[in-house]
């Protein structure tokens, strides 16, 4: 127990990230199922408007910040040091700090579900209820007087710290901790996409942090940044939020694209087609991702010039994205494809992401978007991208790397049940949403008129959502049952080409007995140009120093939610107490002897 609380081992932190994020994924999924149950028929089944608004706000916030990003982080943590031939990340204690801040930030946000009595709210739950992009001026004290929005803006600030710390950590790790010979254009594609993602994190999160601080000033100190009544502008919030929010979409999808770029070559027994093009198109997507934010605001009246510019830049993104898809198909083409569960999920990713990408083009056209934005059509789009894309990609990664992470193989039989239930369920859930949206159903409504004619589509969506729920339970069972299995995974169960497969499953605490020297992009494969690298010695030829644990990252992290609780309760001494805890933590951390 103590060794898990103080761990600085990237592999253990990766597993902590995984289980924590998976728990939040289940919570976010449960919220989705209650939403879908309410919408199963016109006029609902009795979920109140207030509860419904909390549920969709927390579903979006949870899935984006507490499930998808940290599930990707689980793989960054576990896999990146192994792929680049390192013993750990550059800053192991900072890594532990990121995890604890993420965990505490997530708990803080979700505590709002039961914190009502503390605020005399008259109901149990005071969860955030202004939508996951919290548009001003609905979030002002005047229109949202309760603590709900405070939980949201403070929780997201805490989570932003975790993301930023991890972002810097992984940029430094990937640039500086590469094994000898691991040149930039020999990095595995997953590592490349992670690097790009982390650059987006460290550039985009400051923007939302600024926006949240301004909102905090509006709510706590009576400023008017977003309030027209005092000369402010609610549109400023939209610009700031989406300036973060659109890069965020690529923060969510690029890691999954990286996973798919690992899984397809392994199971087709062919190198990634157009490696450099795939890498550079990732870079181009990231750059373009910064120039498209206002396509979320076509209905807000930016004027025809701005609408044209943002429509144009948004359409351009389709090009590097299409290039990636063609290269993945090129990878499969001419291969010897083994239909493992991981491969099925990777192919499912491509097939579903195409649909999300194409509906995205219809959004990119500003005029057609005027009929689609804020309807179920855009809900369908975001779910084809983030479920059909990110989540299927992450599932591919779980089946692919689970043996490496735990030493135990997942059941392929259950995996296939999981895959087909998920694929059919998600299409039943999300495809009809295109139609209910175009037939006039706005998003975020807890009730709808039977006269709209969308009851049938909503019924199908709800059935599909519950199928996805069942599929997820099958997957959960598949994960759990490996705990009672003996270690049964060989070092390289899939015949992968990258360095993580050169060491035992699960890897020893020091990872590599000797740091390998890399001579090419596919070190474990025989290709026309080179043979596989020589196996590493089974035992370390010289003793390897492994750093011990540290309490300080966790202590520092604990200070942050204490400060947030102080702000929530408008009680300054608690804020100061939290600050003292954080400062003591940082001080102890700075002077603690800790060697790599």
């Amino acid at each position: 127990m103590k060794s898990w609380l103080t761990t600085t081992d990237h592999k253990r932190i990766g597993l902590l990230y995984f289980w924590t994020a998976f728990a939040f994924f289940l919570i976010g999924g449960l919220e989705a199922l209650i939403i879908r149950a309410q919408l199963v028929r016109p006029e609902g089944i009795g979920v109140s408007a207030e509860t419904f608004n909390q549920l969709f706000t927390m579903h979006g916030t949870t899935m984006v910040f507490l499930a998808l990003m940290p599930l990707s982080a689980a793989f960054f943590n576990f896999i990146i040091p192994l792929q680049i031939g390192a013993r750990d990340v550059a800053f192991p204690r900072l890594n532990a700090f990121s995890y604890w801040v993420f965990l505490l930030g997530g708990l803080f946000l979700n505590a709002s579900f039961v914190a009502g009595p503390l605020f005399g709210a008259g109901q149990l739950s005071v969860a955030p209820d202004a939508g996951w992009f919290g548009y001003a001026n609905l979030t002002s004290r005047q229109f949202s007087p309760g603590p709900n929005v405070d939980f949201w803006l403070l929780g997201l600030q805490i989570l932003g710290i975790a993301s930023l710390a991890a972002g810097f950590n992984f940029v430094v790790t990937i640039l500086n901790m590469r094994a000898p010979g691991m040149r930039m254009l020999r990095l595995p594609p997953f590592t490349w996409m992670t690097l790009i993602t982390q650059f987006l994190v460290i550039t985009a999160f400051p923007v939302i942090t600024v926006a949240l601080v301004l909102l905090m000033f509006d709510r706590f100190f009576g400023t008017h940044f977003f309030l027209p009544s005092g000369g402010g502008d609610p549109i400023l919030w939209q610009h700031l939020f989406w300036m973060f929010g659109h890069p965020e979409v690529y923060i969510l999808i690029l890691p999954a694209m990286g996973i798919v770029s690992e899984v397809l070559p392994t199971f087709s027994r062919k190198p990634l087609f157009g490696y450099t093009v795939v890498v550079y198109s990732g870079v181009v997507i990231a750059f373009l991702g910064w120039s498209v934010w206002a396509h979320h605001m076509f209905a807000s009246g930016l004027g025809p010039i701005a609408d044209s510019v943002f429509a144009g830049t948004t359409m351009l993104i389709a090009i590097p994205t299409g290039v990636k898809i063609f290269n993945w198909i090129g990878t499969l083409w001419g291969g010897q494809i083994r239909f493992t569960t991981a491969l099925l999920f990777a192919v499912g990713f491509i097939a579903m992401f195409i649909i999300g990408g194409l509906s995205g083009v219809t959004h990119a056209s500003a005029p057609t978007d005027l009929q689609q934005t804020d309807t179920y059509y855009v809900v369908a789009h975001i779910h084809y991208v983030l479920f059909g894309g990110t989540i299927l990609g992450l599932f591919a990664g779980m089946y692919y790397w689970w043996p490496k992470m735990t030493g135990r193989l997942l059941s392929e039989r259950l995996g296939k049940v999981h895959f087909w239930l998920t694929l059919i369920g998600m299409n039943l859930a999300f495809f009809p949403m295109h139609l209910s949206g175009l037939l006039g159903m706005p998003r975020r409504i807890y009730t709808y008129s039977p006269d709209l004619g969308v009851a049938g589509f909503n019924l199908v969506s709800t059935i599909g959502a519950f199928l996805v729920g069942i599929a997820t339970l099958v997957f959960f069972w598949n994960l759990l049952r490996t705990r009672w299995q003996p270690v049964n995974a060989p070092a390289n169960p899939w015949n992968g080409a990258t360095l993580e497969w050169a060491i035992p499953s699960p890897p020893p605490v020091y990872n590599f007995t000797v740091i390998p020297t890399v001579a090419n992009r596919l070190p474990l494969w025989q290709t026309e140009r080179h043979g596989p690298m020589a196996p590493l010695p089974e035992r370390p030829p010289a003793p390897i120093h492994v750093p011990g644990g540290s309490w300080w990252p966790m202590i520092t992290a604990v200070g942050l939610p204490i400060m947030a609780v102080g702000a929530l309760s408008h009680f300054l001494p608690v804020v100061l107490a939290g600050a003292v805890v954080a400062i003591v933590g940082i001080y102890g951390w700075a002077f603690e002897p800790f060697e790599m």
């Binding site: 229109f143 609610p234 359409m315 001419g334 494809i337 057609t368 804020d374 296939k416 706005p442």
Partner: protein
């Protein structure tokens, strides 16, 4: 394990169910908020553009998904199959599949830009100006040239261009009548514009599209497009003074109760009350619906609404009223008389 035929049965099965779904949507049915049933110049232009882009999207979808399916069907691993050729890439192919989507996008971008400028919201000379003001959770309409103020049901003349100027009294809302116009946000401190013209008389449904708090789902609206003569009759009625109840009638009792109740703190009835928090009730009896186009304007709905509005519309600012029995009947009768 590798060649389990079930995979290849499930894919067509899923596709067939999707196509069936599509057919259900397109075939018949009554969809009062469908973007596919456009009845104005603005919405028709958007519909045409969407159909154009959708056709390209379907083409790309079919080609790319087919390539993917062919790849996984044709290159399945076979026992004793040859080692695949370690192809690393192909420059001509890369250039080709960069240029192909770029070219398609040109065919989408050009009409997109044209439509953006066509639908920028400026109506031609002679358009009827309407101001739409969003409130939590109802719509206020003002006709500055006609000196009319009404709520939730927007009357317009068919065949005449309408210039809509919108803003909000509180949070952001979005004005959306799918069959007539694309949506546009109502933002406090700003004025946004749309312009459209419909030639078909009839009732068009819409509702708020931007999440605006507890009763966002209950912020609905109607647009009633009328022939010139019918519209003119409606204008005349709106411009006339509210009906004065006959001496000794139940309506007159209702008016007296209205006058001394909390009603006058929020509502306007010309000559009786002049507050601006809630909708103008000078001609409320002539409307087809109440409460943000949520309920039909019947005796029963009015009773329930006045007695306890927040129970029907969560968050509604009108508190439950203590009027009962004959008093309530009288107020309802009075409101219904205000045609």
């Amino acid at each position: 394990m590798l060649r389990d035929p079930v995979y290849f049965d499930a894919v067509p099965l899923a596709l067939v169910s999707l196509v069936l779904l599509l057919l259900t949507a397109c075939g018949g049915g009554h969809y009062p908020q469908s973007v596919f049933h456009a009845e104005a110049d603005f919405s028709r232009e958007l519909d045409g553009l969407f159909r154009n882009i959708f056709a390209w999207a379907v083409g790309v979808f079919v080609v790319v998904e087919a390539l993917l399916l062919v790849a996984i069907a044709r290159f399945r691993a076979r026992p004793g199959g040859p080692e695949p050729k370690p192809v690393h890439g192909h420059t001509a192919l890369e250039i080709g599949w960069t240029l192909a989507p770029a070219l398609i996008l040109v065919f989408i971008a050009v009409p997109t830009m044209r439509t953006i400028f066509d639908t920028a919201g400026h109506a031609p000379e002679g358009a009827l100006r309407v101001e739409v003001i969003g409130h939590q959770w109802w719509w206020e309409y003002r006709y500055p040239t006609l000196d009319i103020s009404t709520a939730n049901e927007l009357h317009i003349p068919a065949g005449m261009p309408i210039q809509v100027e919108m803003t909000s009294a509180d949070v952001i809302h979005s004005f959306w009548i799918p069959r007539l116009a694309g949506k546009r946000d109502l933002i406090q401190g700003r004025t946004n514009r749309i312009a459209f013209r419909t030639d078909s008389t009839g009732e068009y449904w819409g509702q708020c599209a931007e999440f605006c708090g507890a009763s966002h789902a209950n912020m609905r609206l109607r647009v009633i497009a009328q022939s010139d003569s019918v519209f003119q009759r409606w204008v005349d009625r709106q411009r006339a003074a509210p009906v004065t109840p006959a001496k000794g009638s139940v309506e007159e009792t209702g008016q007296q109760i209205f006058r001394r109740s909390a009603c006058i703190g929020c509502h306007t009835i010309t000559g009786i009350a002049n507050a601006k928090v809630g909708p103008d009730l000078s001609h409320v009896g002539g409307r087809g619906t109440i409460a943000g186009a949520l309920f039909p304007n019947t005796t029963e709905s009015l009773h329930r609404w006045i007695s306890n509005a927040p129970s029907l519309k969560p968050g509604a600012l009108m508190p439950p009223q203590s009027l009962q029995g004959a008093d309530l009947d009288a107020v309802v009768a009075y409101l219904q008389s205000l045609k």
